[in-house]
Every structure is written in structure tokens, then in C-alpha cells.
Symmetry: C2
């Protein structure tokens, strides 16, 4: 009998009716395969708990924030087990700790170190469906930890790897991975299949369906993923290893991301080692720099622009402001009205014309390209934020992604 | 430095403001003594979780109910630690499991088997205030358990015993233990001191301030209790060992209880062993029988009446109905319109006149006494439910308890 890990996100277990629907689905699945369920907190639970924390205090120690937020999955998983009991299905809920999800001690964004799924295996052997709390683990110091953004997906993928499951189904409120955000491009097409590499690029450039980290984990452990809807239950998007026998689409998807800001340092002496000292400073504070552009040198000085997540802007400006005078630079400026538009497709590797077409399309729209970054299967352009929707629509059409 | 366990009930941590007040109090206390805090779930949390469970399913396996309800204290204790952090006080929350509260495997009403407070001791040593989840533990089978009604009080008392604390303060929404329920008798007086024995009788006969079980635990381990208000923070009622040097009040309190029903089995053959088989049957199903009355035999048959908690009436009737034909009894009837009114006082031991005064007072009111039960420091009468308030008021006045 095959084994599937089914992960249900917050919208999939948002209220009593949705939990009952999920129980129905698990009950049906369990007739033809072994199932391990992983659940997030119900809909708005996490937001409500965070609001309570803000009402109570301006200081939220990571250990206590983790203790607080992990209450959410306890509630949803216990309720799901009750709904399964109502259908005559034997199940048992397991906290991260009970499921053997051992993490490091970094509260609010712990990394999984090891999984010891003995209790889950024992339950499966007895015909009991394990319902596991996503997002949480227990640290090597025996404290409750959470895995940070996308943590429940990571829990599901990591459990699928540890249990040697045949696949990991990620149930959410959309039917799969699309060629573009359907809210922006109504004719966007659901992709039947994307490779891990494509999915990584999609997740990294603004695709919200799967968190980057869970895709990385799935690729590293070769866990076949399927993204599906818990509202329609229709077949979704399969994410697995690239298959050389399949014809690769040149472009699979267009994504956009407005979560970064552009920092520019002007009047930087154009000497070796100057840029290194800046980016070392940022790296030391764990700030993720994405695109970098350095202007042509004029009068022995140059301008350096780079993007950082908006959430890190404050810290990045502080660091850049400290380093600028040390390296003799003039000024640090921030620009938050930027967006990144990306094309992703495994077929790009063998089709060099994509970049040219992309640039031509943006030029036709009168959209200026401020920065560029590429990977073997992705091209990203930084443009003005106001142009994002227009650019995404035009590129989707130019590459006929609706077909 | 002395060590105090401070327990805060649901109303004491009902919202953000109340949690901040509790943090303030702990901060002040911690300047003069070591403090371990024990918290219940916030106000209505438990009720809301139970409602969710009812929405989701008609079946609530104990293991899952415990998993669900223990989310409540996680929330309140994490929030309290955040509020303490805001005041610059170092604290850390501990689940039942982390606090070393080991229970048996009886879900929803587990018994504490052992306490291993190593982590709490380590925290205290480091100057960190432990904030412990009340009501919950971990079973010998490594599952999450709850301690049932009054569980948080039991947690606090058990921790006070295990940590050899100097006292255990129970903070609630009333200023202490009163000579009667102040909602019924406005002139009721707050008692400065009651003995464990009196407190046990008060708790057993309808006094809601402390759960019977936690008082038993306190007596057995000689943990000095103080019941106090988290709204006024004024000195409350001290509960400890009887002190022979103190003058014992003849009557300390009047209590009433409408939570029992009266079952009557008529036409029972008046032979040895008949009553035993009935009460053995009830005991086997863990039904707590309180008062028992057997009428004078007529024609070789008798009527047996006894009280059981209203929550167990269904099961008690079922058992009585099964046993009645086996013992040749005629009929089983239920009467839910009954109430028990009790007088409690350590001085009763040496003052035999109390019973007479009580009966006279009830007679003056025209209140019929249907059943009687006594202990060395208590007299309880079963009367019609409608007469409860009138009887409590008259008895309170007759014994001058307002003075």
C-alpha cells in the first residue's frame, strides 16, 4: 500500500465545515492508501494570537512566541481527529515533539535537524492515521520551536522524506501552480507539471503557492509534491524531477514580486574590495541581497544599487550608512517603488531568444528595465512598481502561456 | 528567600489588561520572594474550544479533547511571559510536560503520579520566573493529559508541595472564602482563616472557590493555601492546619448545592445484602453517592433514596433500573428539585447544639428536611430546591455569621 503525506493549510481547515470536508477527503483517501495528515493552524488563528501578543507586550521573546503560536496547530489537529472519529476513522494527533521533529534552538525560524517518526510509524502499523502539527518542532534543548514561514509545508515534505512516502500532497486554496497569478492574468493556465528547479525559481520570485524552503527540501530528498485544492479536490500540479523525455516548455510561468526595495550608494570609490566590505557587512546580519548593479565608473567613483527584502530595509540602511563613510561613499538612498518581474522555464537553457523577447516586450510598453538578474532557467527584471501588472499581462501573452 | 506558588485562574488572565496586571503583581512579589506562577486558560477560551469541538464532531476522544484544551494554557502562559518581559522580568513558560507533571493515562481527568520539577528548579536558580501551564500533564504513555475540574488549582498545590514552597496563593475573582455565597447573603463575611478540614467540607458542599481535590492535596502535603483576589489584591483567606491555640468558631460557613438529584427505589425487600448490591453497582461505574436514606420497613419492603450528581443521573437510573428487578424492587424515580444546605464549622465537634438550632430554624421557615448527613464538622440537610436561598439566609443569620 502506498503512503501519502497530505498537508492542509490554514484556509483548508479555516472552520468546522472545512475541517469536516478535509476529514471526508482523508477518509476516502485512506481506503486506497496509507495517509499521514499535516495541518496548519485554522485560518486566522495565528493572526489573532499575534494581535493578543501585541496587546499584552511590546516584547515578544522567541521562546514564548513559539509557545504561543504552536497552540494553533494543536487546536486544528485535535479537531480534525474528532471529525475523523465522527466518520469512524481511527486517528491520533501528534505535536511536533511527539512526531519526532527535532530542530535547532533558533526560535521562530528553527531548522529541522532530524526526524524520529517512531510514534507515527507505530500508529500507521496499528491502522491509526497520524495527524501531525505542521510548523512546529522540539529543539535539542527541549523547547518548543516553530519553523518560520512556510513551516507547515516543510513539516510535510520532511515527514514524507523521513517516512519514505510515495508523495506529498499540499492542499491549499488554489488548484495548483499557474502560469501567472490568476488574479492578475485571468487566462493564466494551471500547470500540470513543473520541475523542482522551476518551482524553486517560481517560489523565489513571488509565486506564493509553495514556500521556497519546502521545495528545496523536496528536491534535496526527491519527494514528489502535488499542489492541490482542498476546495475542488481536482488534480493539481505535480512537482518532481525534470524528465528528459518530456518536451520542456520554453517559458512556464511569469511571476512578480514587490517585496524588495532598492538601496543605492552613490560616490563609491571604484577600487577593488570596496563592494566586498559592504556586502560582507550585510551578509553578517543575514540580510539577503538579490540583484546588484554597479554603474560605469565616472571620475573614479561609481554608484552601487542592490535589492533587499523590504522587511530588512531598516537594518540594511543602518549597515550601509555605517559602511559608507568608512569606504568614502557619499550617500545612501532607498527606493521602495520597485518590482521584479520574472520569466521561468526549464526550456530556456536551450532557447537563448527569451531574453531578447522579454526586453522587446517591456520596451514596447515603455517600461524601463532598471536591473537584471538571470539563472539558467529564469530572467528577472526590476521595473517601476506601477508597471507590474501591465508587464506581467504582456509577457504572459507574448509567450502564449494561456495555451 | 521564601518561595511562593501563585496560581491565576481564568478570570484573572481573561484579557490583555488583566494579564498585564498579573504581570505587575508577579513583578512586585518577585522583589521579596521567589515566585512560580501557574495559569489557567484565558476566560472563555475553554468554552470556545469546546464549542468548536461540538461543531466539528459528535465524538470527542479523550486524547484529542486533552490535546485541544491544553492549547488554552499555552496561550495564557506565553502571553504572561511576554507581559513580564515588558516589565524587564525574566520568565519562561513551561507546559505540564516540561514542568515534569507526570500523570496516569486517564484522559480528561488524569491523576498526578509524580512531579519532576528539574527544569523549574533550574530556572529559579538562574533567576528566571517559571510560568507553568495549569490543568495539564504528560502521561506515562507520553500523551498530553488534563487533570479535570479544578485542575489548575491541583497543579499549583502539587507544584508547591514538590518545590517545598512556603505557600500557595490561589488568585481568583473573589477576595477569599466567605461565610456564605455573597450573591445570596450580601452581609456574608470573608473568613480570615479556615482549616483544611473546614475547607474540604465547604468545597464538598457547594463552595466554588477551591476544588475539593486541590484542598485534599494541600492537606495531605501540608501546603499552606491562601485564596485571594486578582482584582483587589487584598489579603484573602488562609487555609492551613487547624491550630489548637485558636478559638474555633462553632459555625464558619453556610453552603448550598443544587448539583445533585435524588433517586428513590420503592418496594425493596428488606433483606441483608440488597442495598449492598445496588451501591456496588453504582460504585463500579464510579458514581459518587452522597446521602442515603432507607425508610422504616413496611410489609417486609422498604424505600431507598440516595443522591447522585445530576451529571450521573442517566447512568445511575440505568444501573438502578437493571438492579431493581433482580432484587425484587418495584420502581425507580428521580427528583431533580432538591438542594443540600450545609453548616460547616470546626467548633461543631465540641458544640452538640448546632444540629438542633439548624432543624429549628428550618422548621420556623416551614422547610421540610428530606435527608440528613453529617460529619464531625458539618451538617447537611436535603430540602426542596425552591427553599435554598431562604434557608441559607436564615441559617447565616441564626448563627450570626456576619459578625
Amino acid at each position: 500500500m502506498s503512503l501519502t503525506v497530505q498537508k492542509f493549510g490554514g484556509t483548508s481547515v479555516a472552520d468546522a465545515d472545512r475541517i469536516k470536508e478535509v476529514a471526508d477527503h482523508i477518509a476516502r483517501s485512506s481506503q486506497k492508501e496509507q495517509v499521514v495528515a499535516v495541518v496548519s493552524a485554522m485560518g486566522k488563528t495565528t493572526d489573532n494570537l499575534i494581535r493578543l501578543a501585541q496587546d499584552v507586550s511590546g516584547i515578544h521573546p522567541g521562546r514564548e512566541l513559539d509557545m504561543l503560536l504552536t497552540a494553533g496547530e494543536r487546536i486544528s489537529m485535535a479537531l480534525l481527529c474528532m471529525a475523523l472519529a465522527d466518520l469512524g476513522i481511527k486517528s491520533a494527533s501528534f505535536t511536533g515533539s511527539q512526531a519526532g521533529i527535532i530542530t535547532d534552538t533558533t526560535h521562530t525560524k528553527a531548522k529541522i535537524l532530524e526526524i524520529k517518526p517512531d510514534r507515527l510509524k507505530a500508529a500507521l502499523k496499528e491502522g491509526i492515521i497520524p495527524v501531525v502539527a505542521g510548523f512546529q518542532g522540539v529543539s535539542t534543548g527541549n523547547d518548543v520551536t516553530t519553523l518560520g514561514r512556510g513551516g507547515s509545508d516543510t513539516t510535510a515534505v520532511a515527514l514524507a522524506a523521513a517516512l519514505n512516502a510515495d508523495r506529498c500532497e499540499i492542499y491549499t486554496d488554489v488548484p495548483g501552480v499557474f502560469s501567472a497569478d490568476p488574479r492578475v492574468v485571468p487566462e493564466a493556465k494551471k500547470l500540470k507539471h513543473v520541475s523542482f528547479e522551476e518551482m524553486l525559481e517560481i517560489a523565489a520570485t513571488g509565486g506564493k503557492v509553495l514556500a521556497l524552503r519546502s521545495v528545496e527540501f523536496a528536491r534535496n530528498h526527491n519527494v514528489v509534491l502535488e499542489v492541490r485544492s482542498s476546495f475542488t479536490w481536482e488534480p493539481g500540479t505535480l512537482v518532481n524531477e525534470e524528465n528528459d523525455n518530456m518536451e520542456q516548455p520554453i517559458v512556464s510561468a511569469v511571476t512578480s514580486d514587490v517585496s524588495s526595495a532598492k538601496l543605492t550608494i552613490t560616490g563609491v570609490p571604484d577600487q577593488p574590495g570596496i563592494a566586498a566590505s559592504l556586502f560582507r557587512g550585510l551578509a553578517d546580519r543575514a540580510i539577503n541581497v538579490d540583484m546588484i548593479v554597479q554603474n560605469t565608473s565616472q571620475d573614479g567613483t561609481t554608484d552601487i544599487s542592490f535589492t533587499v527584502p523590504k522587511t530588512d530595509v531598516g537594518m540594511a540602511v543602518e549597515i550601509a550608512g555605517q559602511i559608507a563613510p568608512m569606504i568614502g561613499a557619499e550617500n545612501v538612498s532607498i527606493d521602495e517603488n520597485v518590482a521584479q518581474v520574472s520569466l521561468i522555464g526549464a526550456g530556456m537553457k536551450t532557447n537563448p531568444g527569451v531574453t531578447a523577447t522579454m526586453f522587446e516586450e517591456l520596451a514596447k510598453l515603455g517600461v524601463n528595465i532598471e536591473m537584471i538578474s538571470t539563472s539558467p532557467i529564469r530572467i528577472s527584471c526590476m521595473i517601476r512598481k506601477d508597471n507590474t501588472e501591465m508587464a506581467v499581462k504582456a509577457l504572459h501573452q507574448a509567450f502564449s502561456l494561456e495555451q
